[in-house]
């Protein structure tokens, strides 16, 4: 395939040739002939490459691979198929030359654009001996959650002057998943007021079997002697027993807003990024507490993960969160109407949204509150992200900030625990703020 350089030289030669004839200038004809000879020699015998004509990557592939590249193959191995945001992935690319001729190749393993090469290089110039193979190792840093794919491998071979080249894409793909990163939470201040039949680690502020002290009461027949508080008996002269706060498994519902408006802001700093990270952190915390956690992600459609417990549930939730894409504009009311019949009355609900572009938010959250659900709203502010990225001016920011504060105040007046989550605030701080601590 002709490179731009060879095309330019070819055009120059033709122009000089014709001009030479027109001007009857044999020098021009001679120069044109030399350029033609130069190009012909490179095209016929320059089968091996060194540097790209542009010194840049093989971004434009035309599919003209030629014979020289038919004997080159590639395999790839990833260190892991699942990692967390800001995690590192080691990629090993194995290049094989099945031919008996050595080849000088330009190899570029395509990685998603959001990835950063931390160690090594995915763009290599190499001489691959006859029937030899070589391993290329590099490490990428994955700053953003999502489903990703590494590949294809672009291979290029060209003459030393970069006049002609052949390119091939080896369709070797490896998929991997980047989970949202999680913050370690010590306390969330979220507890269920409704007992469930299975005992667990969460106290629900009702007397029953549990570990935390709840109150003292008089002894009744049948009470365990171990529960008698002897100090209180000594003080009052009556047999008193300790009552404990009932432990129970809570149902925690986390709702993540992934409408298209949730991605307002820079790619790495927007409401959806913050919401998914918060949802992952909360899910891990609650599941660690042996709660039953369900997640609803809504945007273009309502995607839900049924309540369940355990480590497996965490992976299911993380996978759904990794795949959350900002799309669609389903109102919260639709989500609430759909899930209300299926969740236990009084269950804590954590709603993660920037509260933008949805007129039904107030009514939807009122519906929750009316049924005595414990609603916590963490709202990453798109305004702050946009303002930090200098995409809105000060006046616009102030106006919209005021409107946002009005909305937050209105929701707070409904009994919703709400916190305007500023970009630099830790999740635990935001949660504590929402719960009034």
């Amino acid at each position: 395939m002709w490179s731009r350089k060879s095309a330019m030289l070819g055009s120059l030669a033709i122009a000089m040739y014709l001009l030479g004839l027109t001007l009857r200038n044999s020098q021009l004809v001679t120069i044109a002939v030399v350029i033609f000879v130069f190009l012909t020699w490179a095209a016929l015998f320059g089968g091996h490459a060194d540097v790209a004509a542009t010194g840049r990557r093989a971004d434009e592939w035309s599919g003209e691979e030629g014979v020289a590249l038919s004997s080159v193959s590639a395999m790839r191995k990833l260190s892991s198929a699942r990692i967390f945001e800001d995690g590192e992935l080691n990629i090993t690319l194995r290049m094989q030359n099945h031919s008996s001729l050595p080849k000088i190749l330009e190899v570029r393993d395509r990685v998603p654009e959001v990835m950063r090469i931390k160690d090594g290089a995915n763009y290599i110039l190499m001489e691959l001996g006859p029937r030899r193979e070589t391993f290329i190792e590099y490490t990428v840093e994955c700053p953003l959650r999502g489903f990703y794919s590494v590949g294809p491998v672009a291979v290029r071979i060209q003459d030393p002057f970069g006049l002609f080249h052949k390119e091939k894409e080896l369709h070797v793909y490896n998929d991997f998943l980047v989970f949202p990163k999680m913050e370690d939470l010590k306390e969330t201040f979220v507890k269920s007021r409704v007992p469930k039949i299975f005992t667990g680690a969460v106290n629900i502020r009702q007397p029953g079997p549990g570990s935390e002290f709840y109150s003292l009461r008089e002894y009744f027949e049948g009470d365990s002697f171990r529960a008698i508080n002897w100090s209180a008996y000594a003080r009052s002269g009556k047999l008193m027993v300790n009552e404990r706060e009932r432990d129970a498994v809570s149902d925690i519902i986390i709702i993540v807003d992934s409408r298209s408006v949730a991605e307002t802001g820079p790619v790495s700093r927007n409401a959806l990024v913050y919401s998914t990270r918060a949802a992952a952190s909360l899910a891990k915390y609650f599941l660690g507490r042996r709660d039953s956690v369900g997640v609803i992600v809504y945007g273009e459609e309502v995607v839900s993960v049924d309540r369940d417990t355990g480590k497996k549930q965490l992976y299911v939730i993380l996978t759904k969160l990794a795949g959350a894409v900002a799309r669609g504009n389903i109102p919260l009311q639709v989500v609430v109407n759909r899930i209300l019949p299926h969740i236990n009355k009084g269950s804590p609900i954590i709603f993660l949204s920037n509260l933008e572009d949805d007129p039904t938010i107030v009514n939807a959250l009122r519906d929750f509150r009316a049924r005595d659900f414990d609603v916590t709203v963490l709202t990453p502010s798109s305004l702050e992200f946009e303002f930090d990225a200098r995409r809105i001016d000060r006046t616009g920011y102030e106006v919209m900030k005021t409107e946002r504060d009005v909305l937050i105040s209105e929701l707070r007046s409904l009994g919703v625990n709400i916190m305007d989550w500023e970009p630099d605030m830790l999740l635990s701080t935001a949660l504590a703020g929402a719960r009034g601590f």
């Binding site: 030399v34 030393p160 307002t264 572009d357």
Partner: protein
């Protein structure tokens, strides 16, 4: 947030509804919020796709990232360019006398045309030097264009020299050899300046860990070999192609000595049109070979022979 996209205006959703939480301006603002899931333009990493001129030069016309100080390879290439540049300047001066130049046609004065021609050559050399030293594609492009401009002459078919210190004017073969050498030097000048930029970029990419090069000595060695072999081959082949006026009579001479002699002395054959015609036939043959996909067959043959 302030991106205005008429197609994604959602303000109609608010029609007839009470937006309790918001001031009236919010309705408009919310309606204008972009609802696409596209990545904002300022968040997309920049992909460097070279322009046509950049491809020709081998590097950026206006360097955005500064090259790191040149390594030994680049320094050697720069020295090579300086050497070729001096030779090219002298040869250009020799084979492009002021007669027949555009300046001569416009001004009608040989002195002015000579001064213009000299300025052109000195300008081409100076910008070439500076461009190579600074590794700046803009100066190199100007230099290339000035050299091409210097050779554009409304001349007769016969090659004339402005300064015949080597007494070549009476030796047609040496004269055409000189022109071939000049042409090869011009191409090598293009290639070496291109190489300076290419290898500067490559060196910078290697040192910034963007590219990894396995066994760089072999790769550089291949380039060095090509820098030596290709001009020699180009010189030989071009000389053969341009000697059609002597080669053709030699073949004809096998059949008829008289016809061969007439051909040798024929003005048509030694004229620029004769040379051009011979060249045209040669390249028709080469073009035919390409049309038959000869490079692929050749590569196939080499692969099979190596099996």
């Amino acid at each position: 947030m302030t991106v205005s996209r008429p197609s994604s205006d959602t303000s109609h959703l608010y029609d007839g509804k009470t937006v309790r939480s918001s001031a009236p301006s919010r309705k408009k603002a919310a309606g204008q919020i972009g609802s696409g899931s596209d990545i904002p333009t300022d968040a997309i990493p920049q992909v460097e796709i070279p322009s046509f001129i950049e491809s020709l030069l081998g590097g950026p016309l206006v360097p955005k990232t500064k090259f790191l100080p040149p390594d030994k390879m680049v320094q050697n290439l720069q020295l090579g360019v300086y050497g070729i540049l001096v030779a090219l300047a002298l040869l250009t001066y020799m084979i492009s006398p002021a007669e027949g130049t555009m300046w001569y046609m416009f001004t009608g004065s040989l002195t002015i045309a000579t001064v213009f021609q000299l300025i052109l050559i000195v300008g081409a050399t100076g910008t070439g030097f500076w461009g190579t030293f600074q590794r700046d594609g803009r100066f190199l492009l100007v230099s290339n264009l000035l050299f091409i401009l210097a050779i554009l002459r409304f001349a007769s078919s016969k090659v004339t020299l402005s300064n015949d210190v080597l007494q070549l004017q009476d030796n047609p073969f040496m004269l055409s050899a000189l022109v071939v050498v000049y042409a090869v030097m011009l191409i090598m000048y293009f290639e070496l300046t291109n190489g300076v930029l290419r290898y500067s970029m490559l060196d910078t990419s290697i040192r910034t860990n963007e590219v990894y090069v396995m066994n760089p000595k072999k790769i550089v060695g291949k380039y060095h070999r090509s820098l030596l072999i290709n001009p020699i081959i180009a010189t030989i082949l071009a000389t053969i192609v341009l000697s059609a006026n002597t080669i053709l009579p030699w073949f004809v001479g096998i059949l008829s000595q008289d016809t061969a002699l007439r051909m040798e002395e024929s003005v048509e054959l030694i004229s620029v049109y004769g040379v051009a015609l011979g060249t045209f036939f040669v390249f028709c043959v080469v073009g035919g070979l390409f049309a038959l996909n000869l490079p692929t067959h050749l590569q196939n043959y080499r692969e099979k022979r190596a099996e």
